[in-house]
C-alpha cells in the first residue's frame, strides 16, 4: 500500500512539473513571436484575447483538429513514434533540475550527466523522423541535426567540465549551493568563457537560429518535420521549445546560481527580499536566457553548414579545453599563488 502511495505521490510531482512546463512552452511560442515582432518594429499577434494572450490556445486547438497525414511509403509506426521520442527526453530531463532548495524530483548524484544524456537522446527522435518520412528533405535535415548535435555536445560537455572542477560535484543542487554566498560567487565570473561556449553550443544543440541547419527553410524546406502535420508537428515544436527551456535552466543552474537570490550577502537587500521564493529567481534567470534565444533569432542570419562545423570543432572545443586547463591549473596551484 505504501508503495502505491509513493508511486502516486511521485506521479503527482511529475504532473506538477510537466503541466506548468507545457503551458510555459506553449506561451513561449507566442512570446517569441511577440519579441521578434517588436524587434522588427511590428506588433505581432494581438487578435486572440487581450493583446494575443490566448494565441497559444488557439494554435493548440487548431493543430489538435488537423489531420495527421502519414506519407504512403513512410514507416508508419516509426513515423508516429518519432515525435514522442523527441519530446519524451526533453521532458524527462527536468527530473533532476532543482527549482528551489530541496524542490527537485530526483536528487541524484549524476544529475549533470543525466541532463546531458537526455538532451542527446532527443536527437534520436529527429533522426528517426527523417528516416521514417521517406523524404529527401527530411533525411537531409535529420542527418544535419544529428551531426550538429553530436559535434556540439563535446564543446557543451567541456564547458560543463569546468563547472564540475570548481564545484566538485555532479549533483545539480550541490553545484548551486557551491555558488552561494554572494553574486560574486556565481560561476559566471570565473567561467565566463565557458558560459559563452556553453551558450553557443546550447543554441546549436537545440537547432535554433543562427544554427537551425536542420530546418533550413531556404534549402531543405523544413528539414526533418517536412512531412509532419497536426499534433505530430506540434509535438516536434513543443520538443524544440522544451529543449530551449531545458538548456536555459541548466545554464541558470550551472552558471547563474540556480535558485539563489542575487541579493545574497548585501546587507539590507538580503533581509528585505528574503520572502521571495527561490523558484522566482530560478524562473527569472531562465527567462533571461530564453530571451537571449529570441534575441539571437531576430538578429543573426543562418550559418553555412561548413562554417557551423568549423566553428564547433576549431573554435569552441579548443576554447573550452583551454578553460578546463586553466581552471584545473588554478585549482592545483591555487595554494601557491
Amino acid at each position: 500500500m505504501t508503495e502505491v502511495t509513493l508511486l502516486l505521490w511521485i506521479l503527482f510531482k511529475i504532473l506538477l512539473i510537466i503541466i506548468p512546463l507545457i503551458v510555459f512552452v506553449a506561451y513561449l511560442t507566442t512570446i517569441e513571436r511577440k519579441v521578434i515582432a517588436y524587434m522588427h518594429g511590428r506588433v505581432g499577434p494581438n487578435r486572440v484575447g487581450y493583446n494575443g494572450c490566448l494565441q497559444p490556445i488557439a494554435d493548440a486547438i487548431k493543430l489538435l483538429f488537423k489531420e495527421i497525414i502519414s506519407p504512403k511509403r513512410s514507416h508508419h509506426f516509426f513515423f508516429l513514434l518519432a515525435p514522442v521520442m523527441a519530446i519524451a527526453p526533453a521532458l524527462a530531463a527536468w527530473a533532476v533540475i532543482p527549482f528551489d532548495q530541496g524542490l527537485v524530483l530526483a536528487d541524484i548524484n549524476a544529475g549533470l550527466l543525466y541532463v546531458m544524456a537526455m538532451s542527446s537522446l532527443g536527437a534520436y527522435g529527429f533522426l528517426l523522423s527523417g528516416w521514417s518520412s521517406n523524404s529527401i528533405y527530411a533525411i537531409m535535415g535529420s542527418m544535419r541535426c544529428a551531426a550538429q548535435v553530436i559535434s556540439y555536445e563535446i564543446a557543451m560537455g567541456f564547458a560543463l567540465v569546468s563547472v564540475l572542477l570548481l564545484s566538485g560535484s555532479m549533483n545539480l543542487s550541490t553545484i548551486v549551493l557551491a555558488q552561494s554566498g554572494s553574486v560574486l560567487n556565481w560561476y559566471i565570473w570565473p567561467l565566463f568563457p565557458a558560459l559563452i561556449v556553453y551558450w553557443i553550443s546550447a543554441v546549436a544543440e537545440t537547432n535554433r537560429l543562427p544554427f537551425d541547419m536542420a530546418e533550413g527553410e531556404s534549402e531543405i524546406v523544413a528539414g526533418y518535420q517536412v512531412e509532419y502535420s497536426g499534433i505530430t508537428f506540434a509535438l516536434f515544436f513543443l520538443a524544440e521549445y522544451a529543449n530551449m527551456t531545458l538548456v536555459s535552466a541548466l545554464a541558470t543552474t550551472a552558471f547563474l546560481g540556480g535558485w539563489l537570490s542575487p541579493f545574497q550577502g548585501i546587507v539590507f537587500l538580503e533581509t528585505w527580499t528574503s520572502w521571495v521564493p527561490g523558484l522566482f529567481w530560478f524562473v527569472i534567470k531562465t527567462c533571461l536566457f530564453l530571451f537571449l534565444f529570441l534575441w539571437f533569432r531576430s538578429t543573426f542570419p543562418r550559418y553555412r553548414y561548413d562554417q557551423l562545423m568549423s566553428l564547433g570543432w576549431k573554435v569552441l572545443i579548443p576554447v573550452a579545453l583551454a578553460w578546463v586547463l586553466i581552471i584545473s591549473l588554478y585549482l592545483q596551484l591555487g595554494g601557491w599563488l
Binding site: M39, G41, N46, F300
Partner: protein
C-alpha cells in the same frame, strides 16, 4: 593583422553590434497602424478611389459637357455616355454610367476631362452589395461629388504644384 582580426572575432564584437541594433529596435514602439480600429491612415491627395462627377459650387450646374473624351480614353470601356441637347441649348448627358466591375481606377478619364468634371476621390473602400449595383449612374456619381466636393477641391489644390 590576421591575429588581431581573429582576437576581435573571438570576443564576438560584431555579434554584440548586431545585438545592439535589434535591442534598440526592441525598445522603440511599433510603427504598425491597426487599420480598421485606427482610421488615421495617411492618404496622398492623388489617391485614386471611387469616381465622382463634380458641379460648379457657385451655380450648382453640372460641369460635364458630354464631350465623351473620358469614354474614348477609358482603357477598360467602363464608361457609357448618351447625350442630348438641353432646353437652354447646351449639350448635356442623359446617361452617364460607370461599371465599377470594369473600372481599373487608372485616372485617365480625370486627365482627359477638359472641365474637371469626372474625378477620382480618395474614397477607398466602397462596396457593392447587390447584383446590378455595380453600375453607378449619373445621379449616384453627382451625389458622391456633392458629398465630397470640399475634400476633392482640397486634394486638387494640394496636388496643384505637382501637376
Amino acid at each position: 593583422m590576421k591575429i588581431i582580426r581573429s582576437i576581435i572575432n573571438l570576443l564576438l564584437f560584431d555579434f554584440l553590434k548586431g545585438l545592439a541594433v535589434t535591442g534598440r529596435n526592441f525598445i522603440k514602439p511599433a510603427v504598425t497602424l491597426q487599420y480598421p480600429e485606427q482610421g488615421t491612415i495617411p492618404k496622398s491627395p492623388r489617391n485614386r478611389g471611387a469616381l465622382a462627377l463634380r458641379e460648379y459650387p457657385d451655380t450648382g450646374e453640372e460641369r460635364c459637357i458630354a464631350c465623351r473624351l473620358c469614354e474614348v480614353t477609358c482603357p477598360a470601356l467602363a464608361i457609357t455616355i448618351e447625350s442630348q441637347m438641353r432646353s437652354d441649348g447646351t449639350r448635356r448627358t442623359t446617361r452617364f454610367d460607370i461599371d465599377t466591375f470594369l473600372c481599373i481606377h487608372c485616372g485617365l478619364c480625370q486627365e482627359a476631362c477638359p472641365v474637371d468634371s469626372i474625378v477620382l476621390t480618395d474614397l477607398q473602400n466602397y462596396t457593392i452589395k447587390g447584383r446590378g449595383d455595380n453600375i453607378m449612374d449619373k445621379e449616384m456619381l453627382l451625389n458622391i461629388g456633392r458629398a465630397y466636393e470640399s475634400k476633392i477641391a482640397q486634394n486638387r489644390q494640394d496636388n496643384e504644384p505637382y501637376v
